[in-house]
Structures are given as structure tokens and as C-alpha cells.
Amino acid sequence: MDGLFSRYRNMSALLALLAGQLLLLAWQIKSDGDTRLIRVWAVTAVTPIVRGLEVVRVGTGGLAQRWFMAGTLETDNARLRHRTAELDIRNQLLAEQLQQAGRAQALLEFRSQLSSRSLPATILGNAPGVQSGVFFIDRGSPDGVKRGMAVVTGDGIAGQVVAVYPSASLIMLATSQGFAASVTSQKHRTHGLLKGDGSSCHVEGIRNEQALDEGEWFYTSGDDRIFPRGLRVGAVRSVRNGADGKEVEVRPAALDGDVSEVLILLDAVHGQIPDLATPSQPDVQVLPPPPEDTHESAAAAAAAASPAPAGGSSATPQTDADRMKERYKRIVEGQNIQIGVTPYRAPDFNRQPAAAPSGAGAATAVQPPGVQALPGTPPTGSAPAGKAAPSAPKAEPKRTTSAQEQR
């Protein structure tokens, strides 16, 4: 036996090492046992070094800047060249700071809007492995981070916490293989399962008959009990019918660019998926309503000056039909006739309508400055724009009152 081992010494050593590791693997899989102690040691050993490297990196930038600033220059040419270099470096530093500040500000604003309790974290480095898609962050178990917590940015979901240690945690990005989240589309409310495939994401579980448009946005549905309902995921990049259902590719909006700061949802609260609004068509610009031309404005002002609004759907009539309707309503009101009440008395529509005590302010609020004010209309230029605006809300209760009277 000894001869056999000595003859195949190399192979025996290899088999022993492999067998030991296979047993370790089998034990972990079978008993779901986590070799936590080894991992904690490894992470605790590596994290301070990475933090130190980060400090050195930041410090080196400042040192280089100071070195450029402290140099004594003998000739103007050399001084100017150094000055240029210095300004270049400062420019780069400021640009980087501005970028970081912008990202931090966006994250802060998103955090204030977020109903869930969250914890900001900075990404320290990658987990070993080629394109692992798993990152170390500077928050650990003392900060309240737990395995399985959702990781988001201001643009949407970014990933999930997969391991927690005292000095750091590991997060898996949404694009990495093994990631999954339950999602629903914004327009057609189509449910599916978002999965990472290494570089992008795809949504599974959507039948070919179900409706889904290219460019449609996906939101978290909350069914996975990891991500709260209503967080943005990303837009559909491509969709086509396949053998096992639709093949949908989605690019997470949160991962479009450099991700260095994230939020961990400590206490996630479900929200609502917003109605179809701007995010689904971010490239489409919608202009404000066009200004009325002179003739239409004059007509509108006249209509607003003579008949008072009564139960109209809007304070300012938009069309000629609206204006005519308003005019007839005021004529009826001026003759104290109640429509639909017996005994019925036909109104005389040839009469002029009663003067409008209210609603005129609202009409003048939209009147262009070049239009002359007609009788009954308060002068536009007499009050500043800031004061003209409150007259519109004041018209609301009066309209309600007249509508009640009409009933």
C-alpha cells in the first residue's frame, strides 16, 4: 500500500486535496452550512487594506495638487506651464467632485422621497472572479444590513445584499447571473421575473399572447418579498416572441453608468406603480398649450366679461362651443330659470347675459399683455402676476355655489 502511494505520490496529493474540497462543498450544500468564520476572517483581513488603498488614492490626489502648487518657478514660461498643469488637475478634481456631489445630491433627493428607511453605502471593490458582478460595500452588520436586503439608486433597483460581515457587505448587481426579481410592466401590467445574465437583464415568464411594448418600463411588483412594489427597474430594450414565451431584454436604469453610491433599503415599504407618464417616453417633449392669438383672446375676454361662469368644467372656456355654452348658462341664470323643473319656462336667449362677478379674474389671468381690457374685466397690468394668480382659485367656490343654486 505504501508503495502504491509513493509510486503515485503526486496523484495521491491531488486527489486528497480535491476530495477535501469536495467534502467541504458537499457539507455546505447538504447542511446549508455557512463557513462564516473563514469568510469573516478573509473579509476582515481584506477590508482594512482596501479602505487604506482608498484613503491613499484620495490623499495622493491632494498631494499631487499641493506639489504642483508649492513648486518655485524660475522662468515665466515654466511658471505658466506649471500653472496650466495645476489648473488642469484642479479642473479634473473639481469636475470629479462636482460629479460626485451631483450623484450624492440625486441620491439624497431620492432618499427623501423614498418611503422606505434606507442606508447610504459606498462601493469599495469587486468580489474576486472575472466579471463577478458582486461588490463590497462599506456597510456591515453593525449598520443593520441583513442578507437579502434590496439595493437601489435614484434611478431604480441596483441589486441585492448577498452576504453581510462586520466590516463590509457583498451586494450582487441586477445584471449578474443568479439575480432575480419580480417585476411588472407599467403600461400593460404584465408580470414577469427579471433575471441577470451577466451583462444585461431579461424578463422571463411572459407568454407570447401577453402585450408588451418596446420601451415600456418595468417596475418591481413586490411579489418576491425582497424589493418593495413600485421601484423603477428599466425600459424594455428589445422584445420578441420565442419558443417558451416572450424574450424580453431590459437594461436596468440604475446601472447605466458608474455606480459608486447606493442605498440599502433597511425597512422596505411597498409603493404604487405610477400611471403611464413621462418615464415611459422620456424622449418625447410635450410643449405647453399655445398662447391664444389676438382675435381669440379678445373674444374670450368678451365672453368672460359678459357671462359669469356657472358650473363650468374649467374656469376659462377653451373653445367657441364652451364659450357659447357658458353664455347660454348665464342667460338662463340671469332670468332665474331652472332647467328641468316644472313648470318649465322657456328662456329668452336673445337677451344679453348677466354680468359675470366671478371668473373674470381667471379669464384675465390668461389674457396676453397686449390685449386691451374690455369693460367688466379688471385691468391686467394693474396687479402683478403673482397677485393675479390667486384669483383663479377664488373662482372655484363661486362656481360651486352657482352650480348648487342651479340644482
Binding site: N10, L22, I29, R39, V46, L124, V130
Partner: protein
């Protein structure tokens, strides 16, 4: 006599030298390689395709020319990598054990100081590493991760190119074993 000692080699006996390293080198070089993989790709994302711990495993294995030592080196470096991931402990360990053993076995038959061979070692072992890891994940863990072949081939070439200067730098740390 082992099975490899009886095999014919392609190098003259005077070039079949065994190298040794300072104990600190055995610890610091793999540690730096792992730290590089942890820290640097955060700023230069395309460097995440570099598998420096693998290249270090290959280098130490081929320099020692002892398959058990190569397997042990690969095992330790792989387990250290495993400890920093969320995967089961032993996946990288098994793969790098096999790589270390194979590299050391190859070094018994070929002149590993040759630059062309070093490039091929970097390329070939990277590809083997990725394929082995993918196969182990499928067979042992039942995962369905995809193996991106074109991406792996390009990354293998990149690792082969990087292996040349890296091995030359590491050559400065070696000393001939007595």
C-alpha cells in the same frame, strides 16, 4: 520514481531547474493579486477580465516544478478567493488546484522560461479555468449560468498578454532552490 519522472521531457536537464521563493513572496504576491482583483476593476472596469490570482498560481506552479506543491498553491489561492465571494467555499479552490497541478506537470516537460510558452500558458489556463468553473457550477451546484465563449476567448488572450510582463516581474523574486 513518479509517473512524470519517467516521462520524456523536451528540455535539457541543465535547464530543468527548480526555483524557490522567499516565504513573504508566497504570501504577499497572491495577496496583492487578490487585492488587485478586488480594488482595481472598480476604476478600470475592463481590467476585471484579468485573473491575476490564476496567473500567480500558474507562475508559482511552473517555477516549483512539483505537482503537489502546485496543487496546494492553487488550492490555497482559490480558497482565499472563495472566502471573498458569496459562493460556496471550494469552487475556485478545486479549479485552481487542478490548474496548479496541471501547470506544474507541464513544467516538467517544457521550458517554461520561453515567452511563447508563457503566453500560451496564460491563455490556455485561463480558458481551462473558466470552462472548469462553469462545468463545476453546472454539475455540482446545478446553476444555469451561461458560458460566453467569445468573451472568454478574448479574455484568455488578454491574460496571456499580461502573463508575459507579470512573469518577468516575478522572475526577479525567484532564487534557485538547493
Amino acid at each position: 520514481m513518479t509517473e512524470f519522472e519517467s516521462s520524456p521531457t523536451h528540455i535539457p536537464p541543465d535547464r530543468l531547474r527548480v526555483w524557490s521563493f522567499h516565504p513573504a513572496t508566497w504570501i504577499l504576491v497572491p495577496l496583492v493579486a487578490i487585492l488587485f482583483q478586488v480594488y482595481v476593476p472598480r476604476f478600470l472596469s475592463y481590467l476585471s477580465y484579468l485573473e491575476l490570482p490564476l496567473l500567480v498560481t500558474v507562475y508559482f506552479s511552473v517555477m516549483r516544478r512539483q505537482p503537489p506543491a502546485g496543487a496546494l498553491t492553487g488550492c490555497l489561492i482559490g480558497l482565499a478567493q472563495d472566502a471573498l465571494t458569496h459562493h460556496y467555499l471550494g469552487m475556485y479552490g478545486i479549479v485552481k488546484t487542478l490548474i496548479g497541478y496541471s501547470a506544474a506537470s507541464l513544467s516538467l516537460r517544457f521550458d517554461v522560461d520561453n515567452s511563447g510558452l508563457r503566453f500560451l500558458l496564460g491563455c490556455g489556463f485561463f480558458a481551462a479555468h473558466q470552462v472548469l468553473y462553469w462545468a463545476l457550477s453546472h454539475s455540482l451546484l446545478g446553476t444555469h449560468d451561461a458560458l460566453h465563449v467569445p468573451q472568454t476567448v478574448i479574455a484568455a488572450l488578454l491574460n496571456g498578454v499580461v502573463a508575459l510582463p507579470l512573469f518577468q516581474v516575478l522572475d526577479r523574486l525567484k532564487s534557485e532552490a538547493r
